[in-house]
C-alpha cells in the first residue's frame, strides 16, 4: 500500500505541474484587451461541477447541456488499468474550434475528474492520469464550436494476479 500512496502523490505533483503549465499558456495567448471581468468568469474554478456525484449532474453543472457521442473524439484508455490509482487516459480530436476537454469517471465518488480550457490556437490534445475507485466508464467531453461531443470507454480496475 505504501507504494501506491507514493506513486499517487508523485503523480499528483506531475498533474499539478501540468495544470500550472496550461494556465500559463492560457494567459499567454489571451488577447490583452479582453475585459478582466470576463476573463475572471471564464477562469473561475468550476467548484459546483466538481462537487456533483453523478456524471450527468457534473456535465450539466459544467456546461449546462448534454453531449452527443462522436467518433471524432479519440480517447486512448487501457481496457484494464495497470494501476487504478494512476490510469493514463488521453484525448485528441479532429474537431475544430475546441474550447475545453473534460474527463468524467462515472462511478468515482465525484464523477468530474478534470476539465481543461483549450485556448485558441492550441492543439486539442490532453493526456492525464485519473484515479479510479473501481471498474467503470470513463467519458471524455470535447467542447467545440459551442457544442459538446463525447466518447466513452469502460476501464476495468482489478485486484490482479492469477493470470495464466
Amino acid at each position: 500500500m505504501s507504494t501506491t500512496t507514493r506513486e499517487f502523490s508523485e503523480t499528483r505533483r506531475l498533474v499539478l505541474k501540468g495544470i500550472g503549465v496550461t494556465a500559463l499558456i492560457g494567459l499567454g495567448v489571451m488577447p490583452f484587451d479582453v475585459p478582466r471581468a470576463l476573463a475572471a468568469a471564464n477562469d473561475k474554478y468550476p467548484e459546483d461541477a466538481f462537487k456533483q456525484k453523478s456524471e450527468a449532474d457534473a456535465i450539466k453543472a459544467l456546461y449546462g447541456r448534454t453531449a452527443e457521442p462522436s467518433d471524432k473524439v479519440k480517447m486512448d484508455a487501457p481496457e484494464i488499468a495497470e494501476n487504478g490509482a494512476v490510469v493514463p487516459i488521453s484525448v485528441t480530436t479532429t474537431l475544430s474550434d475546441v474550447t475545453s476537454i473534460s474527463f468524467l469517471v462515472a462511478e468515482n465518488p465525484n464523477a468530474l475528474a478534470a476539465s481543461y480550457k483549450i485556448p485558441a490556437g492550441t492543439l486539442p490534445s490532453v493526456a492525464n492520469r485519473l484515479k479510479m475507485a473501481k471498474t467503470t466508464n470513463v467519458t471524455a467531453i470535447v467542447e467545440a464550436g459551442g457544442k459538446l461531443y463525447s466518447t466513452t470507454k469502460e476501464v476495468k480496475v482489478t485486484v490482479g494476479g492469477c493470470g495464466g
Binding site: A81, T158, G163, G164
Partner: protein, 582 residues
C-alpha cells in the same frame, strides 16, 4: 512397441479424412505420420507456451473450458466429444488423445508422452529439410522460459540455450517478463533470434528518466516486428506480448513498462509494412489468448494470419475472421511442447494466394530424440537431478491442472496450504501450465516444481472477510468470463480449498458467485474474518515457497482428501465447453 505403432497408424489413417491433421504415409514407417504433402512456397513453424518443458510430458486437455456470450460453443470453447465432432477427429484415436481429455488415462498408456525439445528438434529439422534451405521460419509465441524448476533456478537461461539449438528465429513473451528487466535483457543478449513486442512501452516517468528503449520516439521498449525473407518472399512478423503482464503478475518485475492490447498502434505497424516494405504476408505472433485474437482479427485489418498462444488451446484448424479489409486466420497451438503448428503459405503476386495449416501433435515415441539437444538437456539438468528426483509420494489419483474451475493438482496444493499453514480457506492461482501425473506414478520435487515454479512462489496467511473473499472470486471470474474478450486475462478461475460456491458464468461481474459455504457447510459471512492461505500474490509476501509447503505435505503422507471440487455451475447445462464423460 509394434502394438503401439499399429495404434498410431490406425489413428492417423482416420485423420487423413480431416484437413489439418497428420497424413498417413504409404510406408509402414511411423515417421510417415510427419510426412506432409508439399504445399506453397514458404513454411512457418510455430510453437508456443512450451513452459520450459524440455522433456516429454503428459498433459491432459481440459474437460471444462466454457465460452459465454457470443463465444458459447465456439472454438476454443469446446471439450471432449464436442471438440472431436467439430474437428472430425475419431474417438479413441491418437489425435483424440492429444487434442482432448477424452479417455485420457487409458490413452496415455497407449500413446505415451508428447513433446520434449530433443523430439521437437528432430521434427522441426525434418519439416525444415522437407521444404529446403531458407524456405522455413521457426517462431515461438512465448512462455518459453518458465514452468520448471530448472528454468526457475536458471532464470530462463536454460531455455535460451535450447531455443538457440532449436533455431528459433523470433519470439514474443509473457512469463519471460517475470524474471525482471535485468534477467530478461541478459537472456536476450544470448538469444540468437529476435524478441518482438509491439505492445510494450516505457511509462512516461521511465521515458522522462531516459530508460532504455528500442525506439525512444515511440517509447517502444522492444523491436516491434521484423521482415524475414523465406522462399524468396518477404514476410513481416509482428510480436504481440501478453497485454496484461503488470496486472496478472507483480508490477515490481516490470516497473518501467506499460503493456496493453494496443490495436491502434498495431494497425499503424501493419499499414506501414503493407505500404512501405513490399511484404507479401503479415503474420502476428501473438500471446493475447485466443478469444482476444479473434476479436482483434475483427478490428485490425491487413494481418494474414495470427499465430496465437497464451490460452493453451490446441485448435486443429485456423478460425477465419472477416474484417473491413478482408479475412484473417487465427490459430492457437496448445502448450507444453505437445504441438507444432505448420503454416504453409502459397505466396504469389505480392499476396497470400492460399494457406494450409496443420497442428501436429508431437508424439515423442514416434520421433527419435536429437542427440545434440538431448545432450544439452542432460547437461543442464545434471547439477539438480539428484536433488529433485527423490520420490515424495505416489499420485493417489490422476493429477492434472487444466480446467476452468479446478484440477486435482490444485486440490492437492490447496490441501497442503490448509494443512501446513493451518488455514480455514486456501486460494491457489488458476494457471494453465503444469503437468499431468497418472495415478500410482511417483511424485518427485521436480514434478512439484513443474506445477509451481514461478518467481513469486511465497505463501501467505492473511485474515480476509467473507466479503473480501467473494470480491476476489468475482474479480478473477470476470477475468475469465467477461463478455468482451479484451477485458479477459486468459487464466482460469482461482482454485479454492475449504470453500464451496456456485458460479453463474453468464452473469455480470458481482453477480456470478453465490452460495459461498465453508467446508463444514456453514455459509460464509460477509462481515466475518477468515484465515486464508495462498501463494502467487501480486503483493510481496514472505512465507515459505509453495513448493516446499507442498513437498512437506506430500512427505507427511496424510490421507488424501478426495472431496469433489465444491464448485456448482449454473446456466451452462447445454454448453459444449463441459465434458459429460471422462
Amino acid at each position: 512397441m509394434r502394438i503401439r505403432r499399429r495404434d498410431f497408424l490406425r489413428a492417423t489413417a482416420a485423420a487423413t479424412l480431416t484437413a489439418g491433421l497428420p497424413r498417413l504415409a504409404r510406408s509402414a514407417e511411423t515417421n510417415g505420420v510427419y510426412d506432409l504433402e508439399r504445399f506453397g512456397n514458404a513454411r512457418i513453424l510455430h510453437m508456443t507456451d512450451t513452459h520450459a518443458q524440455l522433456r516429454p510430458v503428459l498433459f491432459r486437455e481440459p474437460s471444462v473450458n466454457l465460452g459465454v456470450g457470443a463465444m458459447t460453443g465456439q472454438p476454443p470453447h469446446l471439450v471432449g466429444k464436442a471438440f472431436l465432432d467439430r474437428f472430425g477427429i475419431r474417438p479413441d484415436s491418437a489425435d483424440a488423445y492429444a487434442f482432448t481429455c477424452a479417455g485420457f488415462e487409458k490413452a496415455a498408456g497407449r500413446f505415451g508422452k508428447l513433446g520434449g525439445f530433443a523430439h521437437l528438434k528432430t521434427l522441426i529439422d525434418k519439416l525444415r529439410a522437407d521444404v529446403g534451405e531458407r524456405r522455413a521460419l521457426l517462431l515461438d509465441g512465448g512462455d518459453l522460459w518458465q514452468g520448471t524448476g530448472l528454468s526457475n533456478v536458471m532464470k530462463g537461461a536454460d531455455m535460451v540455450e535450447a531455443a538457440n539449438l532449436l533455431g528459433i528465429e523470433a519470439m514474443t513473451g509473457h512469463w519471460e517478463f517475470t524474471y525482471g528487466e535485468q534477467a530478461l535483457r541478459d537472456n536476450l543478449a544470448r538469444f540468437k533470434g529476435e524478441f518482438l513486442a509491439q505492445n510494450v512501452f516505457l511509462t512516461e516517468e521511465a521515458a522522462f528518466n531516459d530508460a532504455k528503449a528500442f525506439d525512444p520516439a515511440t517509447r517502444r521498449v522492444f523491436q516491434p516486428s521484423t521482415i524475414k525473407e523465406i522462399g524468396g518472399h518477404r514476410i513481416a512478423v509482428i510480436g504481440q506480448a501478453f497485454p496484461y503482464v503488470p496486472i496478472a503478475h507483480p508490477k515490481r518485475f516490470t516497473p518501467d513498462w506499460t503493456f496493453g492490447i494496443r490495436d491502434e498502434e498495431l494497425q499503424k505497424l501493419v499499414d506501414g509494412h503493407r505500404n512501405n516494405d513490399h511484404v507479401e504476408a503479415v503474420i502476428l505472433l501473438s500471446h493475447n489468448g485466443m478469444d482476444v485474437d479473434l476479436k482483434l482479427a475483427s478490428r485490425v485489418t491487413g494481418i494474414d494470419v495470427i499465430l496465437g498462444g497464451h490460452t493453451h488451446d490446441a485448435i486443429p484448424l485456423p478460425i477465419t475472421v472477416t474484417n473491413a479489409g478482408g479475412i484473417t486466420l487465427v490459430t492457437n497451438a496448445g502448450s507444453n511442447g505437445k504441438f507444432l503448428g505448420v503454416l504453409d503459405l502459397d505466396l504469389a503476386k505480392g499476396k497470400v494466394a492460399n494457406v494450409r495449416y496443420k497442428l501436429l501433435p508431437v508424439f515423442s515415441e514416434l520421433l527419435k530424440p536429437d542427440p545434440a539437444m538431448q545432450a544439452l538437456i542432460d547437461k543442464m539438468r545434471e547439477p539438480h537431478a539428484d536433488d529433485w528426483s527423490d520420490k515424495l509420494a505416489s499420485a493417489d489419483r490422476l493429477l492434472y491442472r487444466r480446467g476452468n474451475f479446478s484440477g486435482t493438482v490444485d486440490q492437492l496444493i490447496c490441501d497442503a496450504l490448509l494443512n501446513e499453514l493451518n488455514a480455514e480457506i486456501a486460494l491457489s492461482p488458476g494457471f494453465r501450465w503444469g503437468l499431468t501425473t497418472l495415478a500410482g506414478q511417483p511424485l518427485t520435487m521436480e514434478d512439484v516444481l513443474s506445477e509451481t515454479a514461478i518467481t513469486y512462489p511465497e505463501t501467505y496467511v492473511s485474515a480476509m472477510t467473507g466479503a473480501q473473499i467473494k470480491d476476489v472470486l468475482e474479480d478473477v471470474c470476470d477475468n475469465l468470463f467477461n463478455a468482451d474478450p479484451y477485458y479477459q486475462q486468459g487464466g482460469d478461475m482461482v482454485r479454492v480449498g475449504g470453500l464451496a460456491y456456485t458460479c453463474t458464468p453468464a452473469e455480470a461481474v458481482g453477480k456470478r458467485i453465490s452460495e459461498l459455504r465453508l467446508a463444514n457447510g456453514k455459509p460464509l459471512e460477509a462481515g466475518k474474518s477468515y484465515k486464508v492461505a495462498g501463494w502467487a500474490s501480486v503483493n510481496e509476501q514472505s512465507g515459505a515457497p509453495v513448493w516446499d509447503v507442498v513437498a512437506k505435505h506430500l512427505r507427511a503422507g496424510r490421507p488424501p482428501n478426495r472431496d469433489e471440487p465444491a464448485v456448482t455451475l449454473k446456466g451452462v447445462e447445454d454448453n459444449p465447453g463441459i465434458a459429460r464423460h471422462g
